[in-house]
């Protein structure tokens, strides 16, 4: 059967359940990419119902269409240029006044809107009565009630979307503005109409309104048109500052008049649960201790829960390696499979439980609404460090993996704040660096292993903070951006939602393990096996020659060629440091601590220096690639690699000489 294709855009404010609705509509049939040219995430998905195939684009969560932020510009450009068949505008029923502002703008753009009235159950609980037929009639759009988190109302929404796409695209009645605004609109319209190119992308009236609002994108568009000069003249006689406020006021005025007819407010605005929780959780004195104990709990849970899974993965890979060495006859192939692929990939997959559990706990905290409070509570402390309250979450995720941490910086609006956080977050010691510490601290510091690892964690935080301060004072000067943060209602997170959230972030780590690290371990194996005939990983292999070539550079730090090689391969992924030492010493990972302890070239002081170097030096290749993508700059990517490696060298040098001076 030939299905009719309907292109749908999903628009709405942040935190209104847009992602839940998108998931409910498309299920697993989604694709995550980027909007062309920018780092805003673009999600697309498909679903079918009846004779229709819906192609759904999830627009960024936005409060308006004024092209003030990148998200808003992306959303508006898509709507204007692609002209979707239906725009599903999801609104939070408990907060209609603000949500309908975006709806007003969508209608002004002449979009075929279907309103998804979400969280209607919560509105009812609060005693907020909404007369849906009346609201629908006053707005001139069909309305469907949904509870996206539970998947309710999806069928009805799809039906409404199909009807809307097939129906006539009658423009909504224009929003009447006060008299003086209307006369300015009329004078601009008469000028703009002279360039037919302009009216093809925007309704001409909308374009006039945007100009009166001093909208930068609309101004650029008009300036480049043939009507540019005369529009400029017309605008110069208008006080747009005052006009802008009148326009916004008029929109809100209309929303209030519509809501006045269709909604009944709750009788008493008693204290809600959110009020009570916020009094405690954001308290001046209690806020930070509560936050820190929650984080401590999250880490304890992560490591406790992950333990059996990690042992399981370790066992499976040990068994597979044994199986390969017993059954594969060809020695080269057996070495490639066993030493190379299974050994390397296994040492990476072992962190998957840790990372997934940490992301799951973070997802629960985020979905419950707590993370927004955490950003608020931490804002003051972070500001002292030259960082934004929102920088805290990326920093925290850095303990799992730098890749999602850097990606999480997208939520920081101000560019300087974002850059400082992107460049500092990789110093937070990620899960991949932990095995290096465990190996060396365990081999050389015995009973004091725990203290040494803890000290390295503290050092990583200090380095990240120090770098943030340095970048802030030397490069990205100026105040941290003023802070507006929406605090969503507290809610009970759903298992499905949190699992999806966890999966989205954790999958990035898995992809890295599947691609970059897989190729990396094969490369190491090849370099350690070539030229043919040498003993695997011996000094006369290619790896050995590379190591000895750079040995002079790290000699002042007390590292020999094997450690140098391990560090080079660590650039592929920090997990590979341990894996490649296993290769170079020709032992399994069980025997590796004994092997390095027995190596006379490594003293406990060298081990300390090596751990410090591993902690600070260049982020791994995956993190570096993400830094390039998120900063959009080769220069800053280069700075990140160079700065961290030089800093690592200096720090390891200091460790060695302070240690020597103290008589170690």
């Amino acid at each position: 059967m030939d299905r009719k294709k309907i292109r749908v855009a999903l628009a709405g404010n942040p935190n209104v359940g847009k992602t839940s609705l998108f998931n409910a509509l498309t299920g697993a049939r989604q694709h995550v990419g980027n909007w062309p040219g920018v780092t805003v995430e673009k999600k697309t998905g498909k679903c079918t119902k009846g004779g229709h195939e819906f192609e759904i684009v999830d627009l960024p969560g936005i409060y308006g269409l004024s092209a003030y932020s990148l998200d808003e510009e992306v959303a508006r450009d898509y709507l204007v240029q692609e002209r979707p068949d239906v725009v599903v505008n999801i609104v939070d029923a408990t907060n209609l006044e603000r949500n309908l502002y975006l709806s007003m703008q969508l209608l002004e753009l002449g979009m075929p809107v279907v309103l998804a009235l979400n969280m209607a159950d919560r509105a009812e609980e609060r005693g907020l009565g909404i007369d849906i037929p009346c609201l629908s009639e006053r707005l001139g759009v069909p309305i469907v009630q949904t509870v996206a988190s539970k998947g309710l109302g999806i069928d009805a929404l799809l039906d409404a979307m199909a009807r809307r796409a097939e129906g006539t695209k009658a423009a909504a009645p224009p929003l009447p503005y006060p008299g003086h605004v209307e006369s300015s609109i009329a004078s601009l319209v008469s000028v703009l109409e002279k360039d037919p190119g302009l009216t093809s992308s925007y309704p001409v009236r909308t374009l006039a309104v945007l100009l009166l609002e001093s909208d930068p994108a609309a101004r650029r568009l008009v300036e480049q048109s043939t009507a540019g000069a005369s529009a400029q003249t017309a605008l110069s006689s208008i006080d747009t500052d005052a006009m802008e406020i009148d326009i916004v006021d008029a929109r809100y005025g209309r929303i209030r008049s519509i809501l006045g007819q269709s909604c009944t407010a709750p009788s008493a605005s008693g204290t809600s649960l959110t009020d009570v929780l916020d009094t405690v959780l954001t308290d001046k004195y209690l806020g930070i201790p509560i936050f820190l104990s929650l984080m401590w709990g999250a880490f304890m849970l992560t490591f406790t829960f992950a333990e059996p899974f990690m042992e399981g993965i370790d066992w499976v890979f040990g068994w597979l390696i044994g199986l390969v060495s017993e059954t594969v006859g060809n020695e080269t192939l057996a070495s490639l499979l066993g030493d190379g692929i299974l050994g390397g990939v296994g040492s990476v997959l072992i962190f998957v439980p840790n990372i997934f559990i940490l992301f799951f706990i973070l997802a629960i905290l985020e979905d419950s609404g707590y993370l927004a409070r955490a950003a608020f509570v931490m804002d003051r402390a972070m500001a002292r460090l030259g960082l934004h309250g929102k920088s805290f979450v990326p920093m925290l995720m850095g303990f799992g993996c730098s890749v999602p941490a850097i990606m999480a910086c997208r939520t920081i609006e101000n560019r300087s704040d974002r850059m400082v956080t992107i460049l500092s977050a990789p110093f937070i010691t990620c899960g991949a660096r932990l095995p290096v510490y465990i190996l060396f601290a365990g081999a050389f510091f015995g009973a004091r292993e725990g203290t040494v690892v803890f000290a390295l964690y503290v050092l990583s935080i200090l380095v990240a903070i120090g770098s943030a301060k340095l970048l802030r004072s030397a490069v990205f000067r100026g105040e941290t951006s003023p802070f507006i943060l929406e605090m969503p209602e507290y809610g009970v997170p759903t298992l499905k939602g949190s699992l999806l959230h966890m999966w989205e972030r954790g999958a990035q780590y898995l992809r890295k393990a599947g691609t970059v690290i897989f190729v990396g371990v094969i490369a190491i194996w090849a370099l350690a096996s070539l030229p043919w005939g040498v003993e695997y990983g011996a000094a006369d292999s290619v790896v050995g020659s590379i190591g000895r070539a750079i040995e002079p550079l790290v000699r002042p730090l007390g590292f020999d060629w094997k450690l140098a090689v391990a560090l080079i391969f660590g650039f592929v992924a920090k997990e590979v440091v341990v894996a490649s030492l296993g290769v170079l010493y020709g032992t399994g990972e069980d025997m590796l601590p004994d092997a390095i302890r027995a190596d006379p070239a490594i003293t406990p002081l060298d081990a300390m220096g090596f751990m410090v170097f591993s902690l600070i030096y260049s982020p791994c290749i995956a993190a570096v690639a993400v830094i390039k993508k998120e900063t959009g700059s080769w220069k800053w990517m280069g700075v990140s690699i160079l700065y961290s490696t030089v800093l690592a060298w200096v720090a390891a040098f200091a460790v060695r000489h302070i240690g020597l001076a103290l008589g170690y």
């Binding site: 409060y63 308006g64 004024s66 003030y68 408990t94 907060n95 006044e97 603000r98 502002y101 609002e213 001093s214 802008e244 406020i245 916004v248 006021d249 809100y252 959110t274 009020d275 916020d278 009094t279 954001t282 308290d283 001046k284 806020g287 927004a372 950003a375 608020f376 509570v377 804002d379 003051r380 500001a383 105040e479 003023p482 802070f483 507006i484 943060l485 929406e486 605090m487």
Partner: protein
């Protein structure tokens, strides 16, 4: 409006009405999109040294002091 004052100076608890936004293009636009527009009822429900939490039309926001300084409010009773 003669008797208005910045939101940053308002005591916790009571409800006020937004009288004007004294800020540049970007900030005033962002604030008005969030609903900080003429006559909107707003109340302060918590504060730290650097930021305040306000409630506006049933939604809560954390604002830095700097931003709160740009939002002028007047007593709710003036407008009824």
């Amino acid at each position: 409006m003669a008797h208005d004052m910045p939101l940053s100076a308002v005591p916790e608890g009571s409800t006020w009405r937004v009288s004007r936004i004294a800020a540049g293009y970007g900030l005033s636009r962002r604030l008005s999109e969030l609903g900080f527009v003429g006559d909107a009822p707003v109340s302060v429900c918590g504060r730290t040294n650097r930021s305040i939490i306000v409630r506006l039309c049933g939604q809560r926001y954390a604002l830095s002091r700097g931003i709160a300084q740009h939002i002028y409010v007047s007593e709710a009773s003036v407008h009824g």
